[in-house]
């Protein structure tokens, strides 16, 4: 474990949504990084991982796009690259896996990129990165979260498939729980932690997303959680931005704040909720923030 070591430097691949719909994710990461002695070195001139659209349509493209990023990372002398978005993480890790295990694809991609692969790159999810730093998180958690009950939501791609991720248990994961525990919150037991939120179907099959979100939110609420902790911009968007539609379809008006895990860690450090981007949420976080006596944010109701 790297707990307790001096500053840690990792490559940083924000992915497209962290510059747009999930700006608060990046804001919160950048806010907590200094306190954790974590240096995020952005990969210069990175490009989109290709996401679902690439792997659904062209396998080679789905390896080549993230492979380019991995080559750039190697050129920057990085051993490990952190991809905060679970979907980007999956694509980068899958590409690295293909490079190492599928010689045919690896050589095709090398010729496409006109570059050869350097040393293998370790691709990190946020769960893996922060669970390596639980000691630091614990030591920086100065705000008592008052037995705050949270439901940790992994979604589908954070720990799956196991041969790609090679981290945590694909069926009974505990890494997010260990992080929120370090931050002072109490993870609840619930059974939808690994259900899919509908991911890339937000635009093309919105009804499916609403149906899947309904079951996740109901389970989280029934478990007594006061907030849902996520580690993926798509999950966040489907559960926060779509939450009003979901609640409406379920006839359930109890709001459930959906926080990025980095935001929760930031709150435990006593960081300003606005710095952590909590003002950008669609579900009003104020009642929740008040329960832990965090600062105020200005919230604008969804039209």
């Amino acid at each position: 474990m790297r707990n307790g070591e001096a500053a840690m430097k990792v490559g940083y691949f924000p992915g497209c949504s962290l510059h747009a719909t999930a700006r608060e994710y990046e804001e919160s990461l950048k806010a907590i990084a200094p306190a954790l002695d974590l240096q995020l070195e952005e990969i210069r001139d990175w490009a989109c991982c290709g996401a679902t659209s690439a792997h659904s349509t062209n396998h080679l493209l789905s390896v080549a796009l993230p492979a380019r990023t991995l080559v750039l990372a190697a050129r920057q002398n990085l051993d490990r690259v952190f991809a905060p978005c679970a979907a980007c993480y999956n694509r980068l890790a899958s590409a690295q896996h293909a490079i190492e295990h599928d010689k045919k694809v690896a050589s095709q991609v090398e010729s496409i990129l006109g570059a050869s692969f350097g040393h293998p790159i370790g691709v990190l999810s946020i769960a893996q990165l922060l669970s390596e730093m639980t000691d630091r998180i614990r030591s920086k958690a100065i705000v008592p979260l008052k037995e705050l009950k949270v439901a940790c939501y992994y979604g589908c791609l954070l720990v799956r498939p196991p041969e790609i991720c090679r981290f945590d248990d694909p069926e009974a994961p505990t890494s997010l729980e260990s992080i929120v525990t370090a931050a002072g919150a109490v993870p609840v037991k619930w059974d939808k932690a690994l259900e899919c939120c509908g991911g890339g179907f937000s635009l093309s099959r919105t009804a499916s997303v609403v149906r899947l979100g309904r079951s996740i939110l109901r389970s989280a609420k029934d478990s007594g959680a006061q907030a849902l902790i996520v580690a993926c911009p798509m999950c966040h968007s489907n559960l926060d931005f779509r939450q009003r539609a979901i609640n409406r379809s379920a006839g359930d008006d109890r709001p459930m704040p959906v926080l990025f895990i980095s935001q929760l860690v930031g709150l435990s450090m006593g960081l300003d909720p606005v710095r952590l981007g909590l003002n950008r949420h669609f579900v009003n976080p104020q009642p929740f923030l008040s329960t832990i006596s965090a600062g105020r944010v200005e919230h604008r109701e969804q039209a």
Binding site: D169, P170, E171, A172, D191
Partner: protein, 672 residues
Amino acid sequence: MSRIGVFICHCGENIGRTVDCAQVAQAMGELPGVVHSVDYKYMCSDPGQALIKQAIKEHNLDGVVVGACSPHMHEKTFRKAAAAAGLNPYLCEMANIREHCSWIHEDRAEATEKAKGLVRFIVEKIKYNRPLSNIFIPVNRRALVIGGGIAGIQAALDIADGGREVILVEKESSIGGHMSQLSETFPTLDCSQCILTPRMVEVAQHPRIKLLAYSEVESVDGYIGNFEVKIRQKARSIDVSKCNGCGECTKNCPNKKIPSEFEQGLGFRTAIYVPFPQAVPNIPVLDRDNCALFKGRAKGVKKQVCGKCATVCGRRAIDFDQQDSFITEKVGAIIVATGYQLYWIGKEQESEILHGYGEYGYGTIPDVIDGLQFERLASASGPTGGKILRPSDGKEPKKIVFLQCIGSRDRAKGMEYCSKICCMYVAKHTMLYHHKVHDGKAIVFYMDIRAGGKGYDEFVRRAIEESHALYLRGRVSSLTRNGDTIRVQGVDTLSGEPVSIDADMVVLATAMRPQPGITSLAQKLSVSYDLHGFLNEAHPKLRPVETNTAGIFVAGACQAPRDIPDSVAMASATASKVLGLFSNEQLEREPLIARVDRQTCTGCFHCERVCPYGAVERFEVKDRKGNLIKVIAEVNQGVCQGCGTCQATCPSKSIELDGFTDEQIFAAVNAL
């Protein structure tokens, strides 16, 4: 100079048609060392054999070569004839000029030439044959049976009834095995205890069975007919000679809340206990890990913390200071019948190739139980008195989902094999449930129904048609808690529809696995085992109860998943093998085995490495004063099977296989 007789057989027309036998006989007669060479119509006939016998006497032959059919056909015949005439049978050999010559060639000249060559090989070879005598290995006509489940019990009783002594070793404090835990048995639904208990008692009372319960095999030396087995008798803390099984100690033990292994954790026992009322021997054992007295001792408390059992024991049979003891038994055969254990779906697994079921909660969801636990719930003598009740809250479950193939046929979990018995016992469970809870609903998720066996498929049909069990074909994706029910997320592949069921109880038909510790036992016995630890039989079809080590046999579920009838049949088969072996005082073996030249052996032990039987031992050569000169190889006559791999491997050619010595082969090759 040798005095060899050559006899060329016409085999009627079989050889004579294509081979000029007279010409062959004549050519052979000209070879140096051949003093007599004739051809005859049928060598194997009585007159033919008489010809050989007569010639041996008349010409004082010291070698006989019969050019005829395959030695597989008549080698024994001719050797017997030679022996009858006073010639050592191993000085008689055959040259195959029928199967390997006359039957496969048409050209008479070519075939005759070839026949000459073939016979010449053997003539040259036999000049170097030595008289050999058969090896006799004394047989210790007592058997060891390892494991006191139904297979071990059956084997022990059969051998003892056959008149031979048996030592039955059981690691638990009572014999009976898993069968004693079962409620009723398929396909007849007769009560397991009712049919098993009499056999257990019979074992205890049999004059020729020495029962060593609460004991384990420590080491095994020797070979067929002559095994020496060291057995560890674990400390029961009871003087067995004094205990009369009155049960006072058990009654008075203050610690009554220890989960009972026999009840699969669904009931409790005391620290000093008998696992179940019908136990044989009916002598308690003190579980030192859970005994207050021993816990106190471990903590270093000076005062004796408890000791109630000793106080109430009228016969002063309790011995807190008892130690493990060892005895050595000499036996001629060993039967392994160590049985099985059930796979457990938890996260921690005993080997790297196995994986748990995270999607079923790794065994942490209440009221998700396994098949043996259901047996205990259904058993009249079980923790619920035969009522089907949920372990969590004691409520009667109205909807039970049974899942088949848990672990079995699941490469992802590390067990690709079928456990064979689950289809049957799940059908039985649904029936028992239906009989006990009339308004209950049994739902079974299966993949295929494998009910091959007498009355087996009919039994499954009864479960479906009469007990109204609902069979859904498909695997379940996940089990999750849903309030106080269990959400079963499955599919019925026959209709193609996903199925979601909220069950009150889930019963997992988990895979059969060999007992823990089987591999270390197998290593002690030099018996091979498969990837999963199931012991390997010598031949899957023709030698199903023998192992690759002579004198060691397998019965029951230690060899592969087996049900009761299979296990019992195997057990009786091993018993008949053992009784056959014991029908003679000595084992007679052909003397075609390896021997070491002590002069030239350098002790590099290449032979030891290649010997498939572990027949090569280390022998210390000492001078007269007892100083060690060198350590060399020696062949154990009882173990060597005569493959000769050692000889081809030996760099200095210091080990020879009788019957196929280097000189013999060299001579044959030189005859080219």
